[in-house]
Symmetry: C2
Subunit: 351 residues, 2 copies
């Protein structure tokens, strides 16, 4: 544990929230999971600037102070690591062994990416926007990309213009180094590898970008077309996670127990969370808490009148979103080691 | 050896021409290298058809007889496996260990792909054409593509329309099963993985295709843009290969020896081949034979008056093409295990 977070990796730093500690819509900075690919860059705002270049008529550079002087916006957004829940995959796969807690929800304050793109005057024919972080290091997959590379991801121009925020505040405080100081992208509804931290450059392109982190990594086999094609991970898949009970928990018989958790989806609002107390044979409606907030998770609860006699129960939660997408029972192998949203049972003992 | 060819792999079948046997502009079918990814499909023309579909207004299907009834064209084209010369890489890398002979030049007769595309009436917004072969099997790289896949590659629409031939004859004879019967693509100037064999389907798309054989395989890191991007292999790199002498050959002193070979380039005509007899210190002009034929190799020779005394010599050949591209001394690591065209020395003993 490190300040309440589970250490999954020290170098680079990968910290997980113990999901059983979920207790509110907003995840505080110190409880928010941390995902790094390389050492955290030490950036002082005086020496930092953001460049906007590529297929634009008016490339420019922006200082930290100039950025803070621009009109800002605050949004809530749930970030989930694309490898969240990986520890539950069988057989075991490579990669950081995330449990339930590589996910968090925060409010983010910053400048809409569209404002910068408008100022740069995008040329006709531009199709993507590459976000480049200042974090760098070596990678090792075949074909080998030699030397140091920076973490970067591209977005379709349409998404970049729609709702992407360049955030310098998290939950009303200056962004911490762990979370991307001085500036990070927030790409609502997408897995968090798209929300590039320690932003230093924005490049508009007229060709599809096929960088390391959207081809050899953070990709899956998309079979929606005539033949399978390697596609970058994008939208968060519809999912409910149970915070309590934890797997293996003992629960008093003949009592009222609050089963609760969070649910989210990158393809719509959460419209329903159901609970099964018998391993998926029967389902009951859970209560959605609060009001829906676009691109943020929805907390939910279910009051369980526990049985009078000792027994084992396997509890499962499943979410449905406003597009009718229901969380799947089984997992598609085409997703590699990412996009893990099949149903995860929680075993408890009534005593 | 198998009918004069070196067996590099039996299943799937991968056969190489002993390059020292080069003795003419045209490589006969039985001397032509064979590259397979999966078992060779057994196809009878009666049960075969070619489908043209996707982003077209008039999809259609074509029988073998209909194809033979269309206006035909005959072109010469050099095909080179993208992994040719792999055996010379140090340290050793995975993949079929091709020597000098995964290359050949033939005349190909068939129907221009553009004729079929015109007939299918391509929709506005189409950007690529996928060629799919009937050869199928399983592959194993991460992210794992489960189940059987067919061999397929896409071409930019511009290239597909420009000069791609769908060939049913090789050197005036019906295509053999080894070379793609009943129909294969010939993509002039490109590495031969693009010249899909056993063609069964042509799919026009309005999205970039990122299939297995142009992303996890047959790709390289392209650094021509602002950030490295994984790109499909395409044009053959400028190269001269020495057929004779072979490495380790003994040559009589005080005699006339004919050093000879072939040179080719996917980016222009070969304008020059030079020979060094001293490991690259000094260069002499070789004689280009015949006339240039677009997208075909150029044979060359150099008459060497060998020294009077016993000695060791390291012979190197290097090619230059009409765009001024000179064969490189060193190899770029970004090319992975493909596009091998750095200078390859041949050691001989004068005795």
């Amino acid at each position: 544990m490190s300040g309440g977070l589970i250490v999954r990796e020290k170098e680079p730093l990968n910290l997980e929230m113990p999901f059983s500690s979920l207790d509110g819509f907003i995840t505080p900075d110190e409880s928010f999971y941390v995902r790094c690919h390389f050492p955290i860059p030490e950036i002082s705002p005086e020496n930092w600037s953001l460049k906007i270049e590529g297929e634009v008529d008016a490339p420019f550079e922006l200082s930290y102070d100039e950025l803070l002087g621009m009109e800002s916006r605050t949004i809530a957004a749930t970030l989930e690591c694309a490898g969240n829940n990986r520890i539950f995959l069988e057989p075991k796969v490579k990669g950081v062994q995330w449990g339930l807690g590589a996910v968090g929800n925060a409010s983010w304050t910053g400048v809409p990416l569209s404002a910068l793109l408008d100022r740069a005057k995008i040329k006709a024919g531009a199709i993507e926007v590459i976000l480049e972080g200042a974090d760098e290091g070596e990678v090792d997959k075949s074909p080998k990309l030699t030397g140091k590379i920076s973490f970067c991801r591209s977005l379709p121009l349409r998404k970049a213009r729609a709702d992407v925020l360049l955030a310098y505040q998290m939950n009303g405080e200056k962004l911490s180094a762990n979370h991307g100081f001085p500036l990070r992208a927030i790409v609502p509804g997408w897995y968090a590898m798209a929300s590039v931290k320690w932003l230093r450059r924005i490049i508009v392109t007229n060709k599809p970008f096929n960088g390391f982190y959207q081809s050899l990594d953070y990709s899956y086999w998309d079979r929606s077309g005539p033949l399978p094609t390697l596609a970058p991970l994008a939208e968060q898949q519809t999912k409910a996670e149970i915070a309590r009970p934890e797997n293996g928990e003992t629960i008093p018989a003949n009592s009222t127990y609050r089963i609760h958790g969070a649910a989210w989806s990158g393809t719509g609002d959460i419209t329903r969370v159901e609970i099964s107390l018998d391993s998926g044979a029967n389902w009951r409606e859970a209560k959605l808490l609060g009001e829906p907030v676009k691109n943020a998770w929805r907390l939910w609860e279910y009051e369980w009148q526990t049985p009078a006699n000792p027994a084992r129960h396997t509890i499962v939660a499943r979410a449905t979103d406003s597009r009718g997408v229901v969380q799947p029972v089984e997992r598609s192998a085409d997703r590699g080691t990412y996009m893990i949203n099949h149903l995860l049972p929680v075993s408890v003992e009534i005593r």
